[in-house]
Protein backbone atom coordinates (compact mmCIF):
# COMPACT_ATOMS: atom_id res chain seq x y z
CA UNK A 1 0.00 0.00 0.00
CA UNK A 2 2.97 2.36 -0.13
CA UNK A 3 2.32 4.65 -3.03
CA UNK A 4 4.93 6.96 -4.43
CA UNK A 5 2.61 9.95 -4.74
CA UNK A 6 3.54 12.93 -2.64
CA UNK A 7 1.27 13.92 0.15
CA UNK A 8 0.55 17.35 -1.25
CA UNK A 9 -0.86 16.41 -4.59
CA UNK A 10 -2.93 13.58 -3.23
CA UNK A 11 -4.65 15.63 -0.62
CA UNK A 12 -5.07 18.79 -2.63
CA UNK A 13 -6.93 16.61 -5.07
CA UNK A 14 -9.05 15.34 -2.20
CA UNK A 15 -9.99 18.76 -1.00
CA UNK A 16 -11.06 20.08 -4.35
CA UNK A 17 -12.79 16.89 -5.15
CA UNK A 18 -14.97 16.71 -2.07
CA UNK A 19 -15.49 20.20 -0.82
CA UNK A 20 -17.94 20.71 2.00
CA UNK A 21 -21.28 20.49 0.26
CA UNK A 22 -21.85 16.85 1.15
CA UNK A 23 -21.34 17.61 4.86
CA UNK A 24 -24.03 20.30 4.87
CA UNK A 25 -26.47 18.14 2.96
CA UNK A 26 -25.93 15.26 5.35
CA UNK A 27 -26.40 17.56 8.30
CA UNK A 28 -29.76 18.72 7.01
CA UNK A 29 -30.86 15.16 6.40
CA UNK A 30 -29.78 14.19 9.91
CA UNK A 31 -31.80 17.01 11.41
CA UNK A 32 -34.79 16.01 9.33
CA UNK A 33 -34.46 12.42 10.48
CA UNK A 34 -34.24 13.56 14.06
CA UNK A 35 -37.41 15.55 13.63
CA UNK A 36 -39.09 12.57 12.03
CA UNK A 37 -38.12 10.20 14.78
CA UNK A 38 -39.30 12.62 17.45
CA UNK A 39 -42.59 12.90 15.62
CA UNK A 40 -43.13 9.16 15.23
CA UNK A 41 -42.02 8.63 18.80
CA UNK A 42 -44.87 10.77 20.05
CA UNK A 43 -47.52 8.57 18.49
CA UNK A 44 -48.36 5.06 19.53
CA UNK A 45 -48.11 3.03 16.37
CA UNK A 46 -48.68 -0.38 17.86
CA UNK A 47 -51.83 -0.76 15.78
CA UNK A 48 -49.67 -1.05 12.68
CA UNK A 49 -47.74 -3.95 14.12
CA UNK A 50 -46.84 -4.67 17.73
CA UNK A 51 -43.35 -3.27 17.99
CA UNK A 52 -43.74 -0.61 15.31
CA UNK A 53 -42.45 2.25 17.41
CA UNK A 54 -39.12 0.77 18.28
CA UNK A 55 -38.64 -0.74 14.85
CA UNK A 56 -39.19 2.57 13.12
CA UNK A 57 -37.03 4.37 15.66
CA UNK A 58 -34.20 1.92 15.12
CA UNK A 59 -34.50 2.10 11.35
CA UNK A 60 -34.29 5.88 11.43
CA UNK A 61 -31.36 5.69 13.88
CA UNK A 62 -29.58 3.25 11.59
CA UNK A 63 -30.07 5.58 8.65
CA UNK A 64 -28.66 8.47 10.65
CA UNK A 65 -25.76 6.39 11.86
CA UNK A 66 -24.99 5.17 8.35
CA UNK A 67 -24.91 8.74 7.07
CA UNK A 68 -22.55 9.77 9.84
CA UNK A 69 -20.29 6.80 9.23
CA UNK A 70 -20.29 7.02 5.44
CA UNK A 71 -19.87 10.79 5.01
CA UNK A 72 -18.66 12.36 8.23
CA UNK A 73 -16.33 9.51 9.14
CA UNK A 74 -15.16 9.23 5.55
CA UNK A 75 -15.92 5.58 5.23
CA UNK A 76 -16.72 6.53 1.65
CA UNK A 77 -12.98 6.86 1.07
CA UNK A 78 -11.79 4.38 3.67
CA UNK A 79 -9.76 1.30 2.90
CA UNK A 80 -11.70 -1.95 2.75
CA UNK A 81 -10.02 -3.29 5.86
CA UNK A 82 -11.22 -0.36 7.93
CA UNK A 83 -14.77 -0.89 6.72
CA UNK A 84 -14.67 -4.56 7.57
CA UNK A 85 -13.30 -3.80 11.03
CA UNK A 86 -16.06 -1.38 11.94
CA UNK A 87 -18.89 -3.41 10.46
CA UNK A 88 -17.62 -6.52 12.22
CA UNK A 89 -17.90 -4.84 15.59
CA UNK A 90 -21.58 -4.14 14.92
CA UNK A 91 -22.08 -7.71 13.77
CA UNK A 92 -20.77 -9.03 17.07
CA UNK A 93 -22.94 -6.57 18.96
CA UNK A 94 -25.88 -8.20 17.22
CA UNK A 95 -24.51 -11.67 17.95
CA UNK A 96 -24.40 -10.83 21.63
CA UNK A 97 -27.93 -9.46 21.65
CA UNK A 98 -29.49 -12.26 19.65
CA UNK A 99 -27.60 -15.00 21.46
CA UNK A 100 -28.97 -13.76 24.76
CA UNK A 101 -32.40 -13.24 23.27
CA UNK A 102 -32.43 -16.82 22.07
CA UNK A 103 -32.38 -17.60 25.76
CA UNK A 104 -34.98 -15.07 26.86
CA UNK A 105 -37.51 -15.76 24.15
CA UNK A 106 -37.42 -19.46 24.76
CA UNK A 107 -37.28 -19.65 28.52
CA UNK A 108 -40.22 -21.10 30.32
CA UNK A 109 -42.44 -18.15 31.31
CA UNK A 110 -42.27 -19.16 34.92
CA UNK A 111 -38.57 -18.40 35.02
CA UNK A 112 -38.95 -14.83 33.81
CA UNK A 113 -38.71 -12.14 36.47
CA UNK A 114 -42.04 -10.47 35.98
CA UNK A 115 -44.00 -13.69 35.98
CA UNK A 116 -43.20 -14.51 39.53
CA UNK A 117 -46.34 -13.82 41.51
CA UNK A 118 -45.98 -11.88 44.69
CA UNK A 119 -47.95 -12.93 47.68
CA UNK A 120 -47.65 -9.71 49.61
CA UNK A 121 -47.82 -6.06 48.84
CA UNK A 122 -50.19 -4.23 46.51
CA UNK A 123 -51.58 -5.94 43.47
CA UNK A 124 -49.32 -5.14 40.57
CA UNK A 125 -50.60 -5.44 37.09
CA UNK A 126 -48.42 -7.93 35.29
CA UNK A 127 -47.44 -6.29 32.02
CA UNK A 128 -47.99 -8.06 28.75
CA UNK A 129 -45.54 -8.25 25.98
CA UNK A 130 -42.22 -10.07 26.20
CA UNK A 131 -42.84 -13.79 26.08
CA UNK A 132 -43.74 -14.58 22.54
CA UNK A 133 -45.38 -17.86 23.13
CA UNK A 134 -46.85 -19.32 26.29
CA UNK A 135 -49.29 -17.06 28.10
CA UNK A 136 -48.50 -15.98 31.63
CA UNK A 137 -48.88 -18.97 33.92
CA UNK A 138 -48.87 -18.29 37.58
CA UNK A 139 -49.12 -21.82 38.88
CA UNK A 140 -45.82 -23.61 39.12
CA UNK A 141 -47.02 -26.80 37.54
CA UNK A 142 -44.89 -29.91 37.97
CA UNK A 143 -45.36 -30.73 34.30
CA UNK A 144 -42.90 -28.01 33.36
CA UNK A 145 -40.10 -30.17 32.17
CA UNK A 146 -37.33 -27.61 31.81
Amino acid sequence: MAQATTTESAHAKDAHHHGTKSYWVVWVILLACTGLTVFTGQHDLSHVFPSANITIALIIATIKASLVVWYFMHMREAAGTNRIVFVTSFVFLLVMIFGVFGDLWTRSPMTLPYHTPTTEGPEIEVPEGGAHHAPAHHSPSPEHHE
Partner: protein
Protein backbone atom coordinates in the same frame (compact mmCIF):
# COMPACT_ATOMS: atom_id res chain seq x y z
CA UNK B 1 13.66 -0.78 -1.61
CA UNK B 2 14.03 1.83 1.04
CA UNK B 3 12.50 5.23 1.25
CA UNK B 4 15.89 6.89 1.44
CA UNK B 5 16.83 5.42 -1.95
CA UNK B 6 13.51 6.37 -3.51
CA UNK B 7 13.56 10.00 -2.54
CA UNK B 8 17.27 10.51 -2.39
CA UNK B 9 16.87 14.19 -2.98
CA UNK B 10 14.31 14.82 -0.21
CA UNK B 11 14.54 14.17 3.51
CA UNK B 12 12.17 11.75 5.19
CA UNK B 13 8.81 13.24 6.01
CA UNK B 14 9.26 15.04 9.33
CA UNK B 15 6.53 13.02 11.00
CA UNK B 16 7.57 9.66 9.60
CA UNK B 17 8.52 7.21 12.32
CA UNK B 18 11.64 5.13 12.03
CA UNK B 19 9.98 1.78 11.62
CA UNK B 20 7.70 2.82 8.76
CA UNK B 21 8.93 3.05 5.18
CA UNK B 22 6.62 5.75 3.82
CA UNK B 23 4.22 8.26 5.29
CA UNK B 24 1.37 6.59 3.41
CA UNK B 25 2.13 3.32 5.17
CA UNK B 26 2.18 5.11 8.51
CA UNK B 27 -1.08 6.93 7.80
CA UNK B 28 -2.74 3.69 6.74
CA UNK B 29 -1.57 2.06 9.96
CA UNK B 30 -2.83 5.01 12.01
CA UNK B 31 -6.27 4.86 10.42
CA UNK B 32 -6.54 1.10 10.80
CA UNK B 33 -5.54 1.40 14.43
CA UNK B 34 -8.20 4.04 14.99
CA UNK B 35 -10.97 2.05 13.32
CA UNK B 36 -10.01 -0.97 15.41
CA UNK B 37 -10.19 1.17 18.52
CA UNK B 38 -13.61 2.47 17.47
CA UNK B 39 -14.67 -1.14 17.02
CA UNK B 40 -13.71 -1.84 20.63
CA UNK B 41 -15.72 1.15 21.77
CA UNK B 42 -18.76 -0.19 19.92
CA UNK B 43 -18.38 -3.47 21.77
CA UNK B 44 -17.97 -1.69 25.07
CA UNK B 45 -21.34 0.00 24.63
CA UNK B 46 -22.77 -3.23 23.24
CA UNK B 47 -23.14 -4.65 26.71
CA UNK B 48 -25.23 -1.71 27.83
CA UNK B 49 -27.43 -1.98 24.77
CA UNK B 50 -27.84 -5.64 25.60
CA UNK B 51 -28.83 -4.77 29.14
CA UNK B 52 -31.32 -2.25 27.82
CA UNK B 53 -32.82 -4.74 25.39
CA UNK B 54 -33.12 -7.48 27.98
CA UNK B 55 -34.79 -5.41 30.64
CA UNK B 56 -37.04 -3.65 28.19
CA UNK B 57 -38.14 -7.10 27.10
CA UNK B 58 -38.89 -8.05 30.68
CA UNK B 59 -40.56 -4.84 31.74
CA UNK B 60 -42.22 -3.43 28.69
CA UNK B 61 -44.79 -1.23 30.35
CA UNK B 62 -42.28 0.10 32.87
CA UNK B 63 -39.97 1.11 30.09
CA UNK B 64 -42.71 2.98 28.31
CA UNK B 65 -43.77 4.82 31.45
CA UNK B 66 -40.28 5.73 32.57
CA UNK B 67 -39.22 7.05 29.20
CA UNK B 68 -42.15 9.46 29.40
CA UNK B 69 -40.57 10.78 32.55
CA UNK B 70 -37.54 11.91 30.59
CA UNK B 71 -37.55 15.34 29.03
CA UNK B 72 -37.97 14.83 25.30
CA UNK B 73 -37.12 18.43 24.47
CA UNK B 74 -33.82 18.28 26.33
CA UNK B 75 -32.98 14.97 24.71
CA UNK B 76 -33.84 16.21 21.25
CA UNK B 77 -31.83 19.38 21.84
CA UNK B 78 -28.86 17.29 22.83
CA UNK B 79 -29.26 15.25 19.67
CA UNK B 80 -29.28 18.36 17.52
CA UNK B 81 -26.26 19.69 19.39
CA UNK B 82 -24.26 16.52 18.82
CA UNK B 83 -25.23 16.21 15.19
CA UNK B 84 -24.18 19.79 14.58
CA UNK B 85 -20.93 19.26 16.43
CA UNK B 86 -20.30 16.30 14.15
CA UNK B 87 -20.77 18.59 11.19
CA UNK B 88 -18.41 21.20 12.54
CA UNK B 89 -15.70 18.71 13.39
CA UNK B 90 -15.94 17.24 9.89
CA UNK B 91 -15.69 20.75 8.49
CA UNK B 92 -12.72 21.46 10.76
CA UNK B 93 -10.94 18.45 9.35
CA UNK B 94 -11.61 19.69 5.83
CA UNK B 95 -10.34 23.14 6.82
CA UNK B 96 -7.04 21.69 8.03
CA UNK B 97 -6.70 19.74 4.79
CA UNK B 98 -7.06 22.89 2.67
CA UNK B 99 -4.89 24.96 4.96
CA UNK B 100 -7.55 27.23 6.48
CA UNK B 101 -6.00 27.24 9.94
CA UNK B 102 -8.15 29.87 11.59
CA UNK B 103 -11.36 28.43 10.23
CA UNK B 104 -10.34 25.02 11.54
CA UNK B 105 -9.65 26.45 14.98
CA UNK B 106 -12.96 28.28 15.01
CA UNK B 107 -14.88 25.19 14.01
CA UNK B 108 -13.13 23.11 16.63
CA UNK B 109 -13.90 25.72 19.25
CA UNK B 110 -17.56 25.53 18.26
CA UNK B 111 -17.46 21.75 18.48
CA UNK B 112 -16.02 21.90 21.95
CA UNK B 113 -18.67 24.42 22.94
CA UNK B 114 -21.29 21.99 21.71
CA UNK B 115 -19.75 19.31 23.90
CA UNK B 116 -19.92 21.60 26.90
CA UNK B 117 -23.52 22.47 26.09
CA UNK B 118 -24.34 18.78 25.88
CA UNK B 119 -22.82 18.15 29.27
CA UNK B 120 -24.67 21.11 30.77
CA UNK B 121 -27.99 19.81 29.55
CA UNK B 122 -27.11 16.40 30.89
CA UNK B 123 -26.33 17.98 34.23
CA UNK B 124 -29.74 19.63 34.23
CA UNK B 125 -31.39 16.31 33.47
CA UNK B 126 -29.41 14.44 36.09
CA UNK B 127 -30.08 16.97 38.82
CA UNK B 128 -33.80 16.83 38.09
CA UNK B 129 -33.68 13.08 38.50
CA UNK B 130 -31.77 13.30 41.75
CA UNK B 131 -34.37 15.73 42.97
CA UNK B 132 -37.33 13.57 42.06
CA UNK B 133 -35.71 10.30 43.06
CA UNK B 134 -35.58 8.71 39.64
CA UNK B 135 -32.38 6.93 40.46
CA UNK B 136 -30.86 3.51 39.90
CA UNK B 137 -31.12 0.44 42.08
CA UNK B 138 -31.51 0.93 45.77
CA UNK B 139 -31.59 4.73 45.47
CA UNK B 140 -34.85 4.79 43.55
CA UNK B 141 -37.66 6.63 45.30
CA UNK B 142 -39.81 8.31 42.66
CA UNK B 143 -43.40 7.92 43.82
CA UNK B 144 -45.26 8.20 40.55
CA UNK B 145 -43.27 5.43 38.98
CA UNK B 146 -43.19 3.04 41.88
CA UNK B 147 -46.28 1.24 40.68
CA UNK B 148 -44.32 -0.11 37.76
CA UNK B 149 -42.30 -3.24 38.43
CA UNK B 150 -38.56 -2.71 38.36
CA UNK B 151 -38.76 0.98 37.50
CA UNK B 152 -35.40 1.36 39.18
CA UNK B 153 -33.94 -0.86 36.49
CA UNK B 154 -34.84 1.67 33.81
CA UNK B 155 -32.89 4.33 35.59
CA UNK B 156 -30.00 2.00 36.20
CA UNK B 157 -29.71 1.48 32.49
CA UNK B 158 -30.31 5.18 31.85
CA UNK B 159 -27.58 6.35 34.19
CA UNK B 160 -25.10 3.68 33.13
CA UNK B 161 -25.59 4.30 29.42
CA UNK B 162 -25.71 8.08 29.50
CA UNK B 163 -22.99 8.15 32.15
CA UNK B 164 -20.60 6.09 30.07
CA UNK B 165 -21.54 8.20 27.07
CA UNK B 166 -20.93 11.44 28.97
CA UNK B 167 -17.54 10.11 30.02
CA UNK B 168 -16.75 9.58 26.35
CA UNK B 169 -17.94 13.11 25.60
CA UNK B 170 -15.42 14.40 28.11
CA UNK B 171 -12.65 12.24 26.64
CA UNK B 172 -13.63 13.32 23.12
CA UNK B 173 -13.55 16.94 24.18
CA UNK B 174 -10.04 16.50 25.56
CA UNK B 175 -8.92 14.85 22.36
CA UNK B 176 -10.32 17.74 20.33
CA UNK B 177 -8.60 20.24 22.60
CA UNK B 178 -5.34 18.44 22.03
CA UNK B 179 -5.93 18.43 18.27
CA UNK B 180 -6.76 22.14 18.38
CA UNK B 181 -3.52 22.79 20.19
CA UNK B 182 -1.66 20.94 17.46
CA UNK B 183 -3.33 22.97 14.74
CA UNK B 184 -2.61 26.19 16.58
CA UNK B 185 1.06 25.29 16.91
CA UNK B 186 1.25 24.48 13.23
CA UNK B 187 1.90 20.79 13.69
CA UNK B 188 -1.11 19.77 11.62
CA UNK B 189 -1.11 21.18 8.12
CA UNK B 190 -2.20 20.12 4.66
CA UNK B 191 0.98 18.03 4.67
CA UNK B 192 0.16 16.09 7.80
CA UNK B 193 -3.29 15.95 9.27
CA UNK B 194 -3.97 12.33 10.11
CA UNK B 195 -4.17 13.01 13.87
CA UNK B 196 -6.92 15.54 13.17
CA UNK B 197 -8.77 12.88 11.24
CA UNK B 198 -8.40 10.41 14.08
CA UNK B 199 -9.61 12.90 16.67
CA UNK B 200 -12.61 13.71 14.51
CA UNK B 201 -13.38 10.00 14.10
CA UNK B 202 -13.51 9.60 17.86
CA UNK B 203 -15.92 12.50 18.14
CA UNK B 204 -18.13 10.99 15.45
CA UNK B 205 -18.28 7.79 17.44
CA UNK B 206 -19.54 9.73 20.44
CA UNK B 207 -22.25 11.14 18.19
CA UNK B 208 -23.04 7.68 16.82
CA UNK B 209 -23.65 6.22 20.25
CA UNK B 210 -26.01 9.04 21.10
CA UNK B 211 -27.89 8.58 17.81
CA UNK B 212 -28.88 5.17 19.11
CA UNK B 213 -29.27 6.08 22.76
CA UNK B 214 -31.65 8.94 22.09
CA UNK B 215 -34.54 7.04 20.51
CA UNK B 216 -34.07 4.04 22.77
CA UNK B 217 -34.23 6.09 25.95
CA UNK B 218 -36.47 9.01 25.07
CA UNK B 219 -38.80 7.82 22.37
CA UNK B 220 -40.13 4.47 23.47
Amino acid sequence: MSSSDEHAHSARHPHLAEHFETIQQQDYAARLGMWLFLGTEVLLFAGLFLGYTVYRHFYHATWHACSQALSLSLGATNTVILISSSLTVALAYWAVKVGKRNLALGLLAFTILCAIAFLCIKYVEYSHKFHVGELPGKWFRAEELMQYPAANMYFTIYFLATGLHAFHVIVGMSVLLWVAKGIWKGRYTPDYFVPVELGALYWHLVDLVWIFLFPLLYLI
